[in-house]
Every structure is written in structure tokens, then in C-alpha cells.
Symmetry: C2
Subunit: 135 residues, 2 copies
DNA sequence: TAGTTTTTGCAACATTGTTGCATTTGTTGC
DNA sequence: GCAACAAATGCAACAATGTTGCAAAAACTA
């Protein structure tokens, strides 16, 4: 599904920056930081980018995958809604390239997590991402 | 062990703010945010607080337990060094009082995590902390 | 295409992170 | 306790991000 179709499905206006952000995150293997996106989308105002990220997060189209030292990394969200996120993965911050990758987790780990009496469980880790590990 | 003795053990100078920060975090059941500490320790300069947190983190006396929306929460660190942290717990952000609590995790979950080929594995969750759950 | 609603871009300000530097404080040897 | 040295503090200054208000522009609807 194209970014335009996705926005239409959620009854969101198809503006240039929303399409650009969704396109960019959809094509990216890793989650992107605010500053990275700001550089890539420098034709747009930074406040507009900020508000676009808020809106897309609110509707569950993207989510903040990782946050470190005040830097936020956003990823395209599939199978999530504004309320419920698909947490069948962990967020791996690559020690080599600095990118943030979503990694599937084992069934054993999933069942262990399912027993916890908490919501919004989030696992992050550091190591080598797929691209850097195979390089 | 008192905060003064701890600082001595690590060959760190026993300054007022270091003792105040260690005392505050040692007595606190939950991790404290930068702004909370800034308010509590307003007789000290905010840059000094910032550098104190850096130094104590570097020596493994405290650690950044949780980070959300640019707000960092610090906790007293026991059984950790600058290099290796004791990650036998998860960080629970209380939906009610906003505090961050360290919660012990099950052996099953520990063994699941031990199988992951990553370092610095960190789990955070949202729910009711001990104090708020029993209230 | 005109009218309505939403979004954008800009100004403005708050908070946090960060560095340089002069002053103050902690520590050590006498 | 005091002098001397090293380290830490407090302040100025600036960068990045977060956040709100508002007029202009763009997207949608009839």
C-alpha cells in the first residue's frame, strides 16, 4: 500500500510532508532519528516535521522505537494502532552504524513477557545490526 | 555504607552536591528525574548537577534507569560498575505517580534474555508501582 | 471553483545538553 | 593548621529539541 493510500485509510490529509515521512520510513530498514529526518526533509519546517511525527504517532502509523540521550528514533508501524502496539520485537541500537533495527524475538521470550502484569513493555539492546554483522 | 564512604572508596572527592545526590537517590524508592533533582537541589548550579550525574554515572555509582520524552530518570546503582550493569530487573514507569521503579524479573525471563546475542539489554514497562498498586 | 477546515511556516520561548574559563573547594604534605 | 596543587563549581554562552499561538497556505468538500 502506498503512503497516500495509507493516509486516506486513516482519514488523514495527504500533505507533502506526511507522504515524505511515511515514504522515507517505509523504505528504511532502520528507525530514523529526528535529526536524520530533518536533514533529509530540509525543505520542510522543523516544527512541521515535529507535528507530523506527533500526528502519525497518534494514529499509530509510526512509533518512537528508541530514545537515547535525547535523540528519538522513529519507525514505520505495521499491525499497530494508537492504543496497541505490536511488541513482538526488540529495538537494537547498532553499536557500529548507530541505526536502530527491529528484531524478532523468540516464542519463549514472548511468553515470558506475556506473564508480566504491565503494559507497553519495551526491550532495547545494543549490538551489531544485520547489515553491520554481515559486513 | 554512607555516601561519603562510597565516594572515598571510588577515590572521588567528597563534595556537597555529590553527597546530596547520592543521599537523595539512596533514600528514594524510585528513580528520580533530572528536573526533580534540580528542584530538590536548587542551592546548586544546574550545570554542576549535570556534571555530577555524568561523573557518578561514569564511576557506576548511579545509572540512567529510564528515558522518556527527553526526561532522564536516575537511580542508585548497586552491584554495577561503569562497564557492567546488573540487569536483573526492569524499569517500571508508574502510570499513576510518574515515578520509575526497579522490578525484579523471573528466572524464566532472565534465561530468555541471556540467550540473546546482544549487550545492554534494557526492559521498560508501564503500570502501577508498588506504592500506587497497594494504595 | 468557492467556501470551509486543516495544516503549514514562522515567531517566540522553555528545557536540557554541552563547553570554556575564572573562582572556589577538597586534598595532601609539611 | 597552613600552603600548594589538583579538581570541582558557578557562570556565561550557545546548540538542539520540545511546545504553543497565529496568520497564511494548502487540502478537502460541495
Amino acid at each position: 500500500m502506498t503512503s497516500e493510500e495509507t493516509l486516506e485509510q486513516f482519514n488523514l490529509r495527504k500533505t507533502k510532508i506526511r507522504i515524505a515521512v511515511l515514504d522515507s520510513l517505509s523504505q528504511s530498514a532502520v528507525a530514523q532519528s529526528y535529526s536524520t529526518m530533518q536533514n533529509a526533509l530540509h525543505e520542510f519546517d522543523r516544527i512541521t516535521l515535529y507535528r507530523t511525527l506527533l500526528t502519525l504517532t497518534e494514529y499509530g502509523l509510526i512509533h518512537k522505537a528508541y530514545e537515547e540521550n535525547g535523540e528519538s528514533f522513529y519507525a514505520r508501524c505495521f499491525g499497530c494502532t494508537g492504543q496497541l502496539h505490536n511488541h513482538e520485537h526488540l529495538h537494537l541500537k547498532c553499536s557500529s552504524c548507530g541505526g536502530v533495527e527491529c528484531v524478532e524475538i523468540s516464542d519463549q521470550l514472548k511468553s515470558s513477557l506475556a506473564q508480566l502484569p504491565f503494559q507497553e513493555i519495551n526491550i532495547s539492546a545494543k549490538g551489531a545490526c544485520k547489515a553491520c554483522a554481515s559486513a
